[in-house]
């Protein structure tokens, strides 16, 4: 770990080994080689504490929540609500009921478009997104615009992969009702200047939704300091389980919004003549929720909190810097996405080598990266690319693993050229 110290990871060799030991999957061999997992922007691996929490729930206190008057139900309910409290702290929300559980970022955005959007966005109104968005933050707004006759505007980017500030300002007007923008780009790593974006949007009376899919495991989130109206995240990109996520919304907005799904849990009283809805947050949580994964998410949050996001970010930045330097030594390799502020995503293309071929060879060396369009087809069109190869780093990755990546890329280049 000498190189780690040189480029200032905050972790000692022992500390990093201790972190890695919490992730059983990192022991795995793939095609006879030690797994090197660099597809963290797609989903992170899970620490033992998360896996144990799932096991404990099903073995010890599986019960439906908020209903039964028996010990198991009360234990499950308490644990489930503990996660809400943990998330409230994690994003520094003012009120617990501002935390709505969803299946993930995609559902969170669809919830806002179907409730806030349906109620408050009308014909001729404008919604602003950016060229960096993944499909989850494009398609729901296109559907809403089509239904309502509203207009979708897109902030262009420069060649480094940063939004063009003047163009954003030019798009804002009293017609703008919502700015829905990614906090950090999954394909390029670009961190958007969200404080300024929110401030400017509010000046014209627009609300702002931040897509925190890629930011929440790296960057401190303070929804009050940001003064953001909606913030969405997915647990599985945050060392937590799949199928659970969070929508934060300002209380007065959530209260003004109609429910999304109808069913159990979200009601106060049901008669065939009329149903009255439950209060926040339950108004938006119809049906039996994903109890086990919600409870296990708390362990993921504790994992991140224990290490500290500033340490995580510093370690990942050291990896990104090392990986970028080493990748650029490879002939005909170009880094895609050279924004000044980036999360730990190294996206690249190599002249005359198809990204899929590269991925096959890397996989044979045990190295997992993501290739293709990263569910950001319009962004790839803007960059004039069919896709890129993307290595994305997490807290448990090491510089030795990057050496393995570089070795595998060099081998692939030799074989494929």
């Amino acid at each position: 770990m000498i190189t780690d110290i040189k480029i200032s990871s905050p972790f000692t060799e022992q500390q990093l080994a201790d972190i890695r030991n919490q992730f059983p999957i990192l022991e795995r061999k793939v095609n006879g080689k030690q797994l090197v997992y660099f597809d963290n922007a797609a989903t992170t691996q899970k620490p033992q504490s998360v896996i144990t929490a799932l096991d404990n729930y099903y073995k010890g206190y599986n019960a439906n929540i908020h209903r039964g008057i028996h010990t198991l139900a009360e234990e499950a309910t308490a644990k489930y609500e503990d996660t809400r409290k943990a998330l409230q702290k994690f994003v520094n929300a003012e009120f617990e009921e501002e935390i709505i559980f969803t299946r993930g970022v995609t559902e969170g955005i669809n919830l806002v478009s179907n409730t806030f959007g349906r109620k408050f966005i009308n014909a001729g109104d404008e919604i602003i997104i950016s060229t960096l968005e993944h499909h989850s933050n494009i398609v729901p707004w296109q559907m809403l615009c089509e239904e309502k006759g509203a207009i979708l505007k897109v902030i262009p980017i420069n060649d480094a992969g940063e939004i063009i500030w003047e163009e954003y300002i030019a798009l804002l007007s009293e017609k703008t009702k919502l700015v829905s923008i990614v906090h950090a780009s999954n394909a390029l790593g670009t961190i958007n200047p969200v404080e300024k974006i929110i401030e400017e949007a509010h000046k014209v009376g627009a609300k702002v939704l931040l897509d925190g899919a890629q930011s929440s495991s790296h960057i401190e989130i303070d929804v009050q300091a940001l003064n953001v109206d909606f913030f969405v995240l997915s647990a599985h990109k945050l060392y937590g389980p799949t199928g659970i996520g969070m929508l934060y919304g300002k209380k007065e907005l959530l209260e003004a919004m109609p429910p999304f799904h109808g069913g159990g849990e979200m009601i106060k009283e049901v008669t065939f003549a009329k149903t009255t809805y439950n209060e926040l947050p339950y108004k938006f949580e119809a049906g039996t929720p994903n109890i086990a994964d919600t409870i296990a998410l708390n362990e993921a949050i504790q994992f991140v909190n224990t290490i500290g996001k500033s340490n995580i970010m510093a370690h990942e930045n050291s990896l990104l810097q090392y990986a970028t330097d080493e990748l650029l030594k490879i002939e005909d390799l170009e880094i895609i996405g050279t924004a000044k502020d980036k999360v730990a995503v190294a996206s690249f293309v190599i002249k005359n080598i198809h990204h899929q071929d590269l991925a096959y060879i890397l996989d044979s060396e045990g190295v997992a990266i993501r290739t293709g369009h990263h569910c950001t087809q319009p962004l790839m069109q803007r960059l004039g690319l069919k896709g890129t190869s993307r290595a994305s780093f997490a807290v448990y990755n090491t510089t030795q693993e990057i050496d393995t990546l570089i070795f595998a890329v060099q081998k692939a280049v030799r074989m494929l050229k």
Binding site: N31, H354, H355, Q356, D357, A359, Y360, I361, S364, T371, G372, K386, G387, M415, L416
Partner: protein
């Protein structure tokens, strides 16, 4: 009489078994990919495109006396190598033979596990399209 689809597949399985290491199989497939004749640019149109999630295959077919002739190419070289193997199996075979064939070599060589993950490269769609052409030509022939 030329080799049957079954015989060709058996030959491929035997050839691939000669390689101990996956590395060598990759090298071999990449070589096949590099050697595959290019498809004329005029044929690289959407009508001939089999779109994978990451790479594309273009396939054209023609028929003479009940024998179907295929040409194909991909934008990725490993897929091109696999396309080359598929063409070796299916090219210049009678329509009925193609329709009734059972594709076994991808499984038996382990290629399907290592390389032919369906959605990303469109190979299985290519096999479907090959059979579709064979069916269309056999109906036309009758």
């Amino acid at each position: 009489m030329s080799e049957s689809i079954k015989e060709i597949q058996q030959s491929i399985i035997e050839e691939m078994a000669l390689f101990d290491e996956w590395n060598d199989k990759y090298e071999y497939i990449i070589e096949l990919g590099k050697k595959l004749p290019k498809l004329d640019e005029v044929h690289k149109i959407d009508a001939n495109l089999i779109k994978g999630c990451q790479s594309n295959v273009w396939l054209i077919a023609s028929e003479k006396d009940g024998i179907i002739h295929f040409e194909a190419e991909s934008d990725a070289v490993i897929v091109k190598g696999l396309v080359s193997l598929l063409l070796r199996v299916f090219n210049n075979q009678p329509a009925t033979e193609i329709i009734n064939s059972d594709l076994s070599f991808l499984e038996e060589t382990g290629l399907s596990r290592h390389l032919a993950q369906t959605r990303s490269n469109g190979l299985l769609s290519m096999v479907k399209q090959i059979k579709f052409y064979a069916m269309a030509y056999s109906v036309k022939g009758n």
